[in-house]
Structures are given as C-alpha cells and as structure tokens.
Symmetry: C2
C-alpha cells in the first residue's frame, strides 16, 4: 500500500511533528477558549448583550401556579421583578403567590414589589385579554415588560386510538393559549414602546417527535414556527423573542402525561433524568441572560436543537453549535434506526381492533 | 513564514502530485457517482424502494379542485389511479373532474377508472368523515390507498394588525383540515391492512419563517410535526408518510395571498420563480417514487429542508444532503442578516397606531 505508506511518512516527518503539532495544539486551545467565551455570559456582558435585567420590571407568567411557570415566577421575584401569575385554579394560585412572595422576602426592595395572581382561562381569548387588562391596571396601564407563556399540557397516546377532541383541545391550550396572550401583550408593548421580551415555551418535542406524541408535538412545532416568525418581525418594535425547548420536567404535568403514555413511548424516552421546575427555570434564566433565541436545558435537547435549527434561527454559540451540528448529523442516525426498529418490532403488541 | 513554506513544500512534493492527486480525483468522481445514484430513482428501483405505483389504486385528494390538489389528481389519473377529489365549491369540482378525466382518457384502462368529486368542508370533522365514507362506499367500503391533503390557504399580514380570528381559521383549515382526514383515513387504512401512503402538504414556511407569516407558518410547522410523529408511528401499520414543503405556486391561492401581503414580506421573498401546480405535482410525484420523506421542489426550499431537518427525519440522499447541510449552515447566515436588517430598517414604514 504505497499510498498509506506515504501518509505515514508525512505524519512522522520531523518538520510536521516539530512545528505543525505544537501549532495545531495552540490553535485548538485558542478555538476552545473562544468558543467557551462566546457561549459564556461574560462574553455577552463584554458585548453588552446581557439585556435580561428583571429587577424592577413587570413579568407576566401564564401557567404560573405550577411547574415551570411557578419556577420562573419565583426566580424572577427573587431577582426583584414585579410578578403577575395567571392560571385557572384559585387555590393553586394562592399557594403559588405565597411561594413567590417568599422567594423575594429577603430583598431590600421587597416592599415595593407587586405580586399578583389572576384567575383566567388562557384558552379563552376574551379571558386572556381580560387578565392582561387587569394586570396592566395594577401597573397604571403599563404593559408587562416580559411575557412568559408556560401554560401547556401533553396527552400521549396512539394516533388512531385518540379521540379527535384530544387533538383540538391540545392545540387550543398549547398553541392558542399562548398566541392569545402574546398577540394582546405584544400589541400593548409595541404601542407603549416597551422594549420587552416574549418567551414561548415549546418542547424538545417541538424539534423532533416519534410514536405517541401526535397530539402534542404539532402544537409545540406550531409554537416554534410562531417564535421563528416573531423573532424577525418584532425587531420592528425592539421586542425580543425566545423559544424554550423544555425537556422532561418533574412536574404535576408529567404525572398526568404518564397516565396515558403508551409503553413503547416510555421505552424510547428511557430513563430521561427529569429536571425540577426550579432547575429548568434557572437554566432558562441563564440562557435569557446570554440572549439565546433557541433555549434548551439538557444535552439531548441541545443536540435536537442544532439538528433542527433551520435556515433563519441564529446559533447560540457558532463554534460549539457547529461542532454539535456535525455530531448530530451523524449521531442522530442510530437513534432514528432504534426508534423505527422498535416500532416495527412492536406490531404484535398493538393489535388493531376492526 | 516557515509554516506556510512547509505547506507549499508538501503540496509540490512529487509523491503527492503523482499519486495523491489522481487518487483524489478518482475518489471525488466515485463519490459524485454514488451520490447521484443514491438520489436517483434508478438506485431506488435497484433497492426495490420504488413503491409508489398509483396504477389501479385509489387516491383521495383534499383541495382537489384547484392548484396543487388538482395538479396531483390529474397526474395520478394519467398514471391509471382511481381518483376522488374533495372541495367545497361544486362548480369548481365539476370543472376539475372533467380535467382529471381528460388526463386519463388516452389510457387503455380508462373505462375501468373511477373518478369522483365530493363536496365537503374539510375544516368540519363530521363533514370530513362523511366525505371519506362516501368515497369508500364507491369503492365497496375499501379505504383509499393514498391520501393527499392539499387544502390550505395563507393570509399574510403584520402580527399585531391581524385579527385573532385569522389565526384561528388558518389553523382550522391548514392543520385541522388535514388532521381530520388523515386521522379518519389512517384508521380505515390500518384496520383494512392497506399499506398506503399519506402525503401532508406543508410549505417552505413550515421549515423557516419571517415577517408577515405569523398566521401561516405555525400551521405549516404543525403539519411538519404531525408528519414527523406519524412517519415513525405508522410503521406499525406499514403506512408511509411524506411531507411536501411546497414553494411558491402560481395558483389561485397565491393571488389571494398577495392581496394582504406586507410590502416588506414581498421584498424579502423577491422574484421567486413560482412553479405551476402541474410542475409542482410532477416534482412531488417524482420524490414519492424515490421514497423521500421530506420533499421540496426548488433549491431554496431544499436548502431550508436540510437546514431544519432535525434529529429523526431521514435524509433524501445522505451524500448530497450532507454537503448541502454544510453549505446551509454557513450560507443561511447572510440571509438571516438580510431579513433582520430589512425589518430594522423598515420601522418608519410601519408606524404604530396608538
């Protein structure tokens, strides 16, 4: 194999080993440092991109009585934000409100902070507008600075076995329940020239999906599409948009979800380490400080994010995302083979009723 | 620059120029041939993957009286399929039915082919089920072999200026109007053990979006999410799923769409060469013969497809898609800068009404 020999010859050439290898090592270290800095909030602070400063600002959180919504409400209260939470159940709202106050009670400015709980059904347009109205009135008519849309639910099941009403109510809650608040909120923010933030809560199932999630994934894909459109469009009003692809959260929603989850779906998911709502809120907060558009809080989600980033969504860190994307392009293939094989091998477990 | 000199030295080394260059050229030619073959229907025929044989099969097409739906109905009739088209307007249905018959009239088996037009509103669940019922009755209770969901519409506009009802009706037509038919159709296909095909018509705006499409893109993203879930899940029943990211089509829909399109949206789109519905139908048909899951019919759409492919959607041609994906990762950056700059520079053109 003269060709192979040539390669070996080149590799062992003294010129290469003496000059090229140290040079390459330095270059790699340089690249890693830059990529670390580019993803680090320090770098964003240097560039002045750390624009998420919740102190003294009004944060409006739907789905704020439980799970991620309550987590983010508590965290931002502890950072000095005025917080309004929206949910249907008044008892849950009251419990959450106490926890939110608790999270901020050690602050010096605690007395000046306004914490509000409003009972409303976000799947109803008029109710969503009324809730925003009430929240604005408390703040002298001023629209919220930051809107977090965390209300949502997942009902897994086999496509042909689920009733069509499950699909409709899923889209109504997950997509329209976010759209109504964002539409009304952005209208007010734009007209009042508030350079705020809108955070849509999608899911890792908004960047990839498989058996069992036909009721859920499309609603979360729709939110990704809305976020992608608004990221560009709301530059008109200096409003920034962010999309959180949440992974498995150890929340009341997960327990509900697991009741109807097909066995094969659980098997594919495996023993995904679920984050607590507080951990997820913290990860979301950190990414917002870094100015990320697409946000994830676990490695699997991050791989799915770069694999499905699309042509117009920005990277979070060009160097890291490029490397991860190259890995995902190849690395995701065995995953697809696994899920496809699993479904094909499970035919007998899911017999058809005639 | 001793390092640079070393590189030149290596490049001009006789060993390299005499052995490596011809070897590399051969390798590149080999790669190109393989990649061409892998994307070519010939290769798929060799592998036995050419499974889209519409002759003698029953094709069910929603939105079949106009645009892409009519295009695909005519094309598949000319290939010897029984065709049922669904739309609301009876006059348009009748005109389309004549064109479909015309497309098949030179075939020897013409007399045995059944062409049907059923007036139904696909945005209504009960009506969607009734239409499928009627179509099956005509075929002695047998479910369709192939379902094409082509009904859809786009109403562009600025997010905060559009009425919330536009968003709701868009999701109802584009997403639920497809879901109802697919849900009912797949249930019947699965129970009758028909190894059929389901084709969802998404859009290039289902893989990327920008200003003006907040009413439309989320509905097409939702369809992508549904397709991705069902691609995996319907392996249970040997039903294959395909998702067409249609580009600009010179159809009645486009004229309607352009009536409300913001100027900035048209400017970003540029002079996109619109395909005729017949050209799009032909491109879709060819890709189905190749067994592609994600289907596009123009280069821009194809770049957006690979850029947003995600972790579990298969490539169409691994070699070509990999090269295109590397190009898209870098090449899409100037596009994003362009659309973002355009929006930022257009603030004065879109003043806010207080």
């Amino acid at each position: 194999m003269p060709f192979i020999d040539d390669i070996f010859q080149l590799a062992s050439d003294s010129v290469l080993s003496e000059k090229l290898i140290p040079f390459t090592s330095l270059f790699v270290i340089f690249l890693l440092t830059i990529s670390y800095l580019m993803g680090n909030s320090l770098w964003h602070k240097i560039l002045g991109r750390d624009k998420f400063l919740p102190q003294g600002k009004h944060v409006y959180v739907t789905g704020g009585s439980k799970g991620l919504g309550k987590g983010i409400a508590k965290l931002l209260a502890s950072k000095g934000a005025h917080v309004t939470i929206i949910a249907r159940d008044k008892d849950h709202l009251q419990i959450a409100l106490e926890e939110i106050k608790d999270a901020a009670k050690d602050r010096e400015d605690y007395k000046h902070l306004i914490f509000t709980a409003i009972s409303a059904d976000v799947t109803n347009y008029e109710d969503s507008v009324r809730a925003l109205n009430e929240a604005c009135e408390i703040h002298n008519g001023r629209a919220p600075d930051f809107i977090f849309c965390c209300a949502g639910a997942c009902k897994p099941g086999l496509f042909i076995e689920q009733d069509i009403s499950e699909f409709e109510s899923g889209m109504q809650l997950n997509y329209h329940g976010t759209l109504y608040t964002v539409h009304e909120g952005v209208k007010r923010m734009a007209r009042q020239r508030i350079k705020g933030k809108v955070v849509l809560v999608s899911s890792v199932l908004g960047v990839m999906s498989f058996i069992g999630f036909s009721q859920y994934a499309p609603t979360k894909y729709a939110l990704r599409g809305l976020a992608e459109t608004l990221r560009n469009e709301l530059l008109l009003y200096d409003i920034s948009v962010h999309c959180y692809f949440a992974g498995t959260l150890d929340s009341p929603g997960l327990q509900q979800e697991n009741k109807t989850k097909p066995k094969i779906t659980s098997e594919i998911e495996g023993d995904d380490a679920a984050l607590s709502p507080d951990q997820a809120a913290k990860a979301l907060y950190k990414s917002l400080c870094k100015g990320h558009f697409h946000i994830t809080s676990d490695l699997g989600g991050n791989i799915c994010r770069v694999a499905g980033k699309g042509a117009v969504s920005p990277t979070n860190n060009f160097v890291v995302d490029s490397l991860l994307s190259a890995f995902a392009w190849i690395g995701a293939i065995p995953f697809r083979y696994m899920i496809d094989k699993k479904v094909k091998d499970s035919k007998s477990e899911y017999p058809l009723r005639d």
